[in-house]
């Protein structure tokens, strides 16, 4: 079967390890004693866990809709433009930038004495009407989350725009045109034709957005280290720190928890949107 080689690899590198993780989640690291769900209890009660969950959830709750929304709007705008290809390519560029460079430019921009603060200060000086602007130390205050979300949007907007565009392109043009001839305004167009047609894309874009949220940990870690400001302390930070401290049992339990949640969410969404 075509599937066999791929699947066997997947088994080896993903499923089996995952099962191992599940197994470990019931053991204590170090002496491998069976401790039942004690690890889960430990994780559940861990303050860092609570914080990480809250932050990750918040990040997702803010980032995913924002990303999906912005990219959707952009794709709607771009749909029929001549410059579409160029603009989309331009928007895709951040995907090609290596994370370290993104981090470097980020540092230059958002440092307390960075360029953004500089520009904003100048602006506020010029426009006396506005209240004076005090330089913000972005990374060390709650603004850190704003920074993370913004850089997330920056990097992934192009990607999602393409996905939306693809979805839009698949819509039969005739129906739309017919509706327009019939006098439907844009809102109706959207509500009745486009939106339903995009439900599949919605699932895809949603999934991939979540995926990108998880992947963005890389940049966050590079900029802010293993123990960043508390608002941007995510689940991956927790996992990585536990890994480094060799607390594998907790890691395992957390992994299982996360996977279960993801699995449930995925399945639900899939069912709902199909």
């Amino acid at each position: 079967m075509f599937l066999l080689p791929g699947f066997s690899g997947v088994m080896v590198f993903y499923l089996l390890p995952f099962l191992e993780v599940v197994r470990r989640s019931f053991l204590k690291s170090g002496n491998s004693a069976f401790v039942g769900i004690e690890n889960y209890r430990t994780v559940w009660g861990n303050g860092a866990f609570v914080l990480a969950v809250r932050n990750t959830f918040l990040y997702m709750a803010v980032g995913v809709p924002l990303l999906m929304g912005i990219s959707l709007i952009l794709s709607l705008l771009l749909r029929n433009l001549l410059l579409r290809r160029r603009l989309v390519s331009a928007m895709l560029l951040p995907m090609a930038v290596p994370a370290a460079v993104m981090v470097l430019t980020l540092q230059i921009l958002i440092d307390r004495q960075g360029v953004i603060n500089g520009v904003l200060t100048k602006v506020s000086e010029q426009m006396a009407a506005l209240p004076a602007f005090a330089a913000i130390d972005y990374l060390n205050t709650e603004w850190a989350l704003v920074v993370v979300v913004c850089s997330f949007l920056w990097k992934n907007t192009g990607y999602m725009v393409i996905l939306w565009l693809a979805g839009l392109a698949a819509l039969p043009k005739e129906v739309e045109e017919a509706a327009q001839v019939d006098g439907a305004n844009r809102w109706q167009n959207w509500h009745y034709i486009i939106r339903p047609g995009l439900s599949g894309s919605f699932f895809t874009v949603g999934m991939l957005s979540v995926l990108q949220i998880f992947k963005s940990y890389r940049e966050v870690w590079m900029v802010a280290g293993s123990y960043p400001q508390e608002h941007i302390y995510f689940l991956q930070h927790l996992l990585q720190n536990w890994y480094l401290k060799l607390e594998f049992d907790r890691m395992a339990a957390l992994t299982v928890i996360m996977s279960l949640v993801l699995l449930i969410v995925c399945l639900l969404l899939q069912k709902r949107l199909e």
Binding site: F2, F7, L81, T105, D111, F214, L262, C266
Partner: protein, 300 residues
Amino acid sequence: MRSRATVPAWVVRLYGRWRKKRTAWFATGICVAVAVLICAPLLMIPGGSLMDGAEMRQILSPILGDGRGFAAWHLIPVYPTIGHFYRLLIESPAFYQLFWNTVGMTAAILLGQLVVGLPSAWAFAAFRFRGRDFLFGLYVVLMLLPFQVMLLPQYIVLQKLHLYNHPAAVILPAVFSTFPVFIMYRGFTQIDAEILEAARLDGAGELQIFFRIGLPLGRMGIQAAMVLSFLEYWNLVEQPMAFLEEQATWPLSLYLPQITISQAGFAFAVAVMVLIPALFVFALGQDALEEGIAYIGVKG
């Protein structure tokens, strides 16, 4: 739907066109603005790579420790220099070592994904079998799991297979990643089932169907998957960092974090070099990306 007003059709059409144009300009304006906004930080890179250390320190001095005033940036350096490029391209054989490491790693991964993932995607798309949906759902979940989740178990498996500290430790898991399968599957689902049925009825073997029909028709999806994979693995950081101890096997992405803000010019030069192949791939795969992904979003 409310009925339209009594306006002559041609007026409506003209008006519609004008509105479209206006809309178009408006839309263009916004999109261009967004595109510029997005590209702006990227413009720091080439400029920065030509900026010599003194100028860099000068404009970044508030960040570097001066603590007063704000950093500035010159999009075009006042005193451009190719010193960073010289240092990187002529004096750093380490860069090339890492470059070829990255090239090899990425190529191997892409190849492996083609060999392994392609048939898998075809299998999901072309056949019906028991547990297909569940398995596919599993694939999706696996695709979504962040690496940190897999960090430990993969480490264990790799240790058992004696692959730790070998490039294969990064390549093999990546080869079996389910993401390309996902993308390529989408590509394949666009193919009309009837064509396949017809081919089967004609007596073609499965392999023939795959090679003669599946591949050509699904190639957009394949290309898209390849481009996305390339972008993903060209800049891969976590897995090499976790599984490769021997510096000689590192990819370029690990070279960069060693350079700090005080060597920003050099870092930007490295970034330029890292971006160039990515840009090439981008350019090559652009249409495929655009059109290939058209197949992804259709069916949920």
